[in-house]
């Protein structure tokens, strides 16, 4: 079809018609059919009272729903958009019910995501109660803060240096807060327990029509008893008179304060069961009373017959230790911290049942099923913990500590026969070691079922597989594996692993790995750590029994987490507490905190003193022993706090600093140090309470806390540095030689020699030249090489007065290419012939770009086509079209997969490095030629290393290949 005015009109009309068809399916729909049904809100069980589950029946697949949008509010009159749930239009929803879980801390408000202003939801009637996201407008979001528990996540520097001191009058007192702007605080919300929340859901269809909401529903999140622990194991170490426990942790650990172990006599089981049943009744009664205040409180009648023998604070929000132990001394178990003082007769242990409980800050406690003693063993049966240590990981930014233990471990991971006779077998193995032991050789001794040695294999280069010859029809082998390392491992350090037949497969399967009598995989290592601000140890990582080290991540970035509940409309700030924890004081088990504002520190001391005097005066009026004890404890607590502030060396130094900024800077540095300073211990366990716990690691100098060091040089990059320096040196030498006029021979490259002829041909034919500088961006070296060639080609073309067309896919490459072509015209003395529009952008879409280039080739009938740079799947489509138009084509690329396509369709192809050499080749300048020559010599050096390395390692000498880094 020839294009003329009338046809253009037709095309435009057609386009408009198509576009007008777009929302076609939003007509003629009955809106009532698109309201979601069965919308319900239910409390999530076993959580900490911050979760609600919203469920509804999805609409039919035929209704082409694309997303459901959930709205939440604390009144039914205004609900804000919370989250959308995408649905695939084609497949629909496979279940009968859809859910949205509104739980944990999730997005509330951040400066990046919140809209500026409050907007009503689209497609709703004028009086709708549905709004879009909570906006940045403090007038709107401020009053919402009190409806949730809001966690503000604040960058360290923002908290320290952007906080504004804001005084607020509250209950006749002036309280000071740190005021921060929204851009400094990312806010995440959690629902508040026992508060009513309202929800609604709307559907959106394929044409993005927003349908009407359903009837608004509401629910209360309730704080529940924790989830029941599924597993508990209890072991008595007979000779040490020690009980050991191990338990599994539940999925949700939110709000759990204690891990506790109890015991009771088997005869008391009925009482215990009654007590458990009553706990359930109490929980139900609590809920019922919350919903209906007229219901009477259920008074507990049973007492727990179980006696506490172990308790620990959890490391919430981190994963706590899941093992514990209690020593029986003189028929008693005593743990002072928790007031445990329980009779325990280990003679009667078979009469005892053990039970584990999780208890929450809110007081709820859930017990596991009672168990009998799992095992009664001697201390010699406990696993041995190999010596372990903690060192700074080398060559890094300073964000890892390396925890390592034990000697290397090797295990066979699989086998396969390489021939049909089953006489050649490949054994795959893995080995684990740590920086203390460098493995030189691994020796495999293979025995048949009657114990005769078949072969011995020395694996001097560890490539994770060996190939051995075995007798025909082997179906059982024993492999003994030993190491040669930089350190002596001992003669009996030999691993044994059997290879046994595998069901439904004709290969042999590796059996369990044994070291002497220890089944390596039966035990696992758990690394626990604690920094100077933590009160409890937390799990760093659980490692399998064959692992020998762990890199523990120690973050540089320690954001501040603060509750946000108040705001100051006038100053446009969110108010947070200005105090922060600097360090933990382990002596009196309390935190050492300071305040951003020095005046507040003094005020805090005064407040504590007031409290002390208040309690001291109250004490005289108290009667019961319990009350007096409590008052004493409170007084002691405040006295401790005062001592903390006044005597702590860090706070003392800080408060002596006059300038506000220097003081905060000092405190910040101390906090960072405390946060990054970790101590470590290891527990080796079989998962069933048969475990050994190490003491905290102390190094030779007596340090027990370790802070990773930021390194200034990557030692493992040394060979790369050497190679670069050698190359650089060669460049200088060769450039010098070239400058002195030495004739440097360069192998002729046909594709480059032909460039002049190709341009000449275009000139003779009076047709333009096409130059495609690759499809990648400017950061690709291939593009830079292509642009260098463009410079030469454009200059030649300008001299011959031939048009050059340069279509570009990357818009950053565009101005550079334009500048190059322009300069080329100036240099050729033909600035008048430069047409800016000859270097032009087509599109960034890969195949659309090809379509554009192909169109140019056909319409403009280009005589010569250059394809230089990086190309992908489109290479053949372009080059084949070019070949069909009869153009001379010269290609150059380092894209290995595209080289064959260019070779078949183009007249000349620069393969790989020739593309990079082209610029130097064309310039024929000493500087350029020198580099090219240096490149040749370096390549020769690499070749020498490859050959020498191959020869040496064939002779079991692996020092050369091992001196190069693997990556």
């Amino acid at each position: 079809m020839r294009l003329n005015n009338r046809n253009t009109g037709k095309i435009l009309f057609f386009l408009i018609f198509i576009i007008s068809m777009l929302p076609i399916n939003s007509f003629a729909l009955n809106d009532q059919d698109f309201i979601v049904e069965d919308l319900k809100v239910t409390d999530i069980p076993e959580d900490d009272g911050s979760g609600l589950m919203i469920s509804w029946k999805p609409l039919l697949k035929e209704q082409r729903i694309i997303e459901y949008r959930v709205y939440r509010g604390t009144t039914p009159d205004s609900m804000f958009f919370v989250q959308k749930i995408d649905v695939n239009v084609k497949t629909g929803v496979s279940g009968d019910v859809m859910y949205y879980y509104d739980k944990d801390f999730n997005y509330f408000l951040t400066v990046d995501e919140a809209p500026g202003k409050l907007k009503k939801e689209k497609g709703q009637p004028k009086d709708t109660k549905l709004y879009r996201n909570i906006p940045r407008d403090l007038k709107i979001n401020g009053p919402q803060l009190k409806n949730y528990d809001i966690l503000g996540v604040i960058e360290e520097k923002d908290f320290y240096y952007h906080s504004q001191k804001i005084e607020v009058q509250e209950d006749d007192k002036t309280n000071v807060y740190a005021g921060l702007k929204l851009r400094h605080v990312d806010m995440y919300k959690k629902l508040k327990a026992d508060k009513e929340y309202f929800y609604n859901v709307i559907a959106v269809n394929e044409a993005r029509k927003y349908f009407l909401p359903a009837e608004t529903v509401s629910g209360f999140p309730r704080d529940n008893a924790p989830e029941k622990t599924k597993e508990l194991f209890a072991v008595l170490i007979n000779d040490l008179n020690k009980l050991q426990f191990e338990w599994s942790l539940p999925l949700f650990i939110d709000g759990i304060q204690y891990h506790t172990v109890y015991y009771f006599n088997k005869s008391e089981i009925e009482d215990f069961n009654k007590y458990i049943e009553e706990l359930d009744v109490i929980e139900k009664n609590n809920f019922a009373r919350k919903a209906d205040s007229t219901i009477v409180k259920y008074e507990a009648s049973c007492k727990n017959p179980a006696k506490m023998i172990f308790r620990r604070n959890t490391a919430y929000p981190y994963t706590s230790i899941n093992t514990g132990s209690a020593t029986i001394q003189e028929g008693k178990i005593v743990i002072e911290k928790f007031g445990i003082d329980t009779e325990f007769n280990s003679e009667n242990i078979s009469e005892y049942l053990f039970v584990f409980s999780l208890s929450k800050y809110s007081g709820y406690e859930t017990f596991s099923d009672p168990i009998e003693l799992t095992d009664n063993i001697l201390s010699s049966e406990l696993p041995d913990i190999p010596p372990f240590k903690v060192v700074d990981r080398k060559n890094d930014k300073g964000d890892y500590n390396n925890v390592l233990w034990g000697k290397p471990v090797v295990n066979i991971t699989g086998t396969s026969f390489l021939n049909e006779m089953r006489t050649k077998m490949m054994i795959s193995y893995e080995y684990n070691t740590n920086i203390d032991y460098k493995v030189h050789n691994i020796f495999f001794e293979i025995y048949d079922s009657s114990g005769n040695m078949i072969t011995r294999f020395n694996e001097y280069y560890q490539d994770n597989k060996i190939i051995v010859k075995v007798p025909e029809n082997t179906d059982f082998l024993t492999v003994k594996i030993s190491f040669k390392c930089n350190k002596e491992l001992g003669d009996d350090y030999i691993f044994t692993q059997n290879l046994i037949p595998q069901e439904n497969s004709n290969t042999l399967k590796p059996d369990i790995l044994m070291l002497e009598n220890e089944d390596i995989d039966a035990f696992s290592y758990k690394v626990y750590k604690r920094n100077l601000t933590d009160s409890e140890f937390r799990l760093a990582k659980k490692m399998a029994g064959a692992q020998r080290e762990q890199d523990d991540f120690v973050n540089f970035d320690n954001k501040h987490f603060k509750l946000v509940g108040k705001f100051d409309l006038e100053k446009g700030s969110y108010l947070i507490s200005s105090s922060f924890l600097v360090k933990q004081n382990y002596e009196n088990e309390s935190g050492v905190s300071s305040n951003l504002f020095v005046s507040e520190v003094e005020k805090t001391i005064k407040n504590y003193q007031d409290e002390i005097s208040k309690y001291t005066s109250q004490k005289d009026t108290l009667t019961t022993e319990e009350e007096i004890k409590q008052a004493d404890e409170t007084i002691e607590h405040y006295q401790n706090e005062i001592n903390n502030i006044q005597n702590n060396p860090i706070l003392k130094t800080a408060d002596a600093i006059k300038s506000h900024k220097s003081r905060v800077k000092y405190l910040a540095a101390e906090r960072t140090k405390a946060k990054r300073n970790f101590e470590y211990k290891i527990i080796k366990s079989d998962g069933k309470a048969c475990f050994t716990e190490s003491i905290v690691y102390v190094d030779a100098e007596g340090n027990d806390h370790f802070i990773p060091i930021s390194n200034w040089f990557k030692g493992n990059m040394l060979p790369a540095l050497f190679a670069t320096l050698i190359f650089g040196g060669l460049v200088f030498v060769m450039v010098g030689k070239a400058k002195k006029g030495h004739d440097l021979f360069i192998r002729p490259i046909a594709g480059l020699e032909e460039i002049d002829n190709a341009i000449g041909r275009a000139t003779e034919m009076g047709r333009p030249i096409l130059f495609v500088p690759g499809l990648s961006g400017i950061s690709d070296v291939a593009t830079l090489a292509a642009l260098a060639i463009l410079g030469r080609v454009a200059k030649k073309a300008a001299e011959y007065d031939t048009r050059i067309l340069v279509p570009v896919k990357d818009y950053i490459v565009l101005p550079i290419a334009q500048e190059i072509v322009k300069e080329a015209h100036y240099e050729a003395g033909r600035p008048d012939t430069y047409d800016k529009n000859s270097v032009f952008f087509i599109t960034t879409a890969q195949f659309a770009f090809v379509a554009g280039v192909n169109g140019i080739m056909i319409r403009e009938k280009t005589a010569t086509n250059f394809y230089m740079g990086m190309f992908f799947a489109e290479a053949l489509i372009m080059a084949e079209t070019g070949s069909s138009t009869g153009a001379i084509q010269i290609a150059g690329t380092d894209a290995i997969t595209q080289i064959p396509f260019f070779i078949t369709t183009c007249d000349y192809t620069l393969i790989g490095e020739e593309l990079y050499a082209a610029s130097a080749y064309l310039a024929r300048e000493p500087l350029m030629l020198g580099t090219l020559k240096a490149q040749d010599y370096t390549k020769f050096l690499i070749l020498v290393f490859i050959i020498v390395g191959t020869v040496l390692s064939s002779a079991h000498l692996t020092f050369l290949i091992n001196s190069f880094p693997e990556k």
Binding site: T91, S94, Y99, S248, M426, E503
Partner: protein
Amino acid sequence: MNFFDRMQNLDRRWIYLVVALAIIVPLLIPFNSKTYTTEPSENVYKMIDSFAGKDNKAILMCVSHDASTIAELFPMEVSVLRHCFERDIKVFTICFMPQSAPLVDYAINTAKEDFPNIKSGVNYCNFGYKPYSLFLPILLGMGDNIGEAVETDAEGRKVENLEIMENIRNYEDLNLVMDFSASGSVISWITYARVKFGVNVAAGITAVMAADNYPYLQSGQLIGMLSGLKGAAEYEKMVDVFAAKGKAFSKETINNTWIKITGNDIPTKFKKARIGMNAQSIAHIMIIVFIILGNIGYFVNKNKKKG
């Protein structure tokens, strides 16, 4: 101008036409061709089949590709699911790419249509999409406890409470992981799940990427592999020959059995790969024929010139 001259100067559009027909015709009109099964595919089948009827064994399918490679990978997923449904094998699905989530649903729904008794949470369970940042934590966590690592399934149910999880705790039970991808993502399963927990790993992979995974197959780290449309076609055939008829695998039977894909005995969705394979074979053969004709013409002309 004789025939050979004409062949030498053949307008390329004739070639295009023949290639187009070679691809379109076999797709529209399926014909029966022989599908040979190869060992990597057979190993996958045998391993999965060995779990038949055992409620303490299960497989996990990890779908790690987007819609651009469904032509090759989708028939594989459907056949593996069909195999599991036919033989009462517990199957789990998971994906770590948001684009894969609908594909998993689509594959399950496609395979499930013919099995009215198969139920979610009982015979199969879709863990759904999990963010990629959780890939390693989940992969390693499943070595310990699947319920804890995965937490909830695609329908939001707590995994450990589902009926399917009875007797399934960790990799000891979930003994085969099959990764479907157009990239090298299966390597992570090998290095972490296989090495640490000894779980069997198999791959379903596009033909282009298959070469990269041969070394793992050779070393036994991959117990088997379905490569490209060919692998899918092989698996389809094995399911037809054995699973659909309730038989156990036998090497002799498979190579001596012809399965007719013409007719309506087998629904199209279960023979897609074989139909596609027909087209691929014909296209390859056409190109080879063209090359041979071109060469004959070249030699005839050369001789003529000499003569």
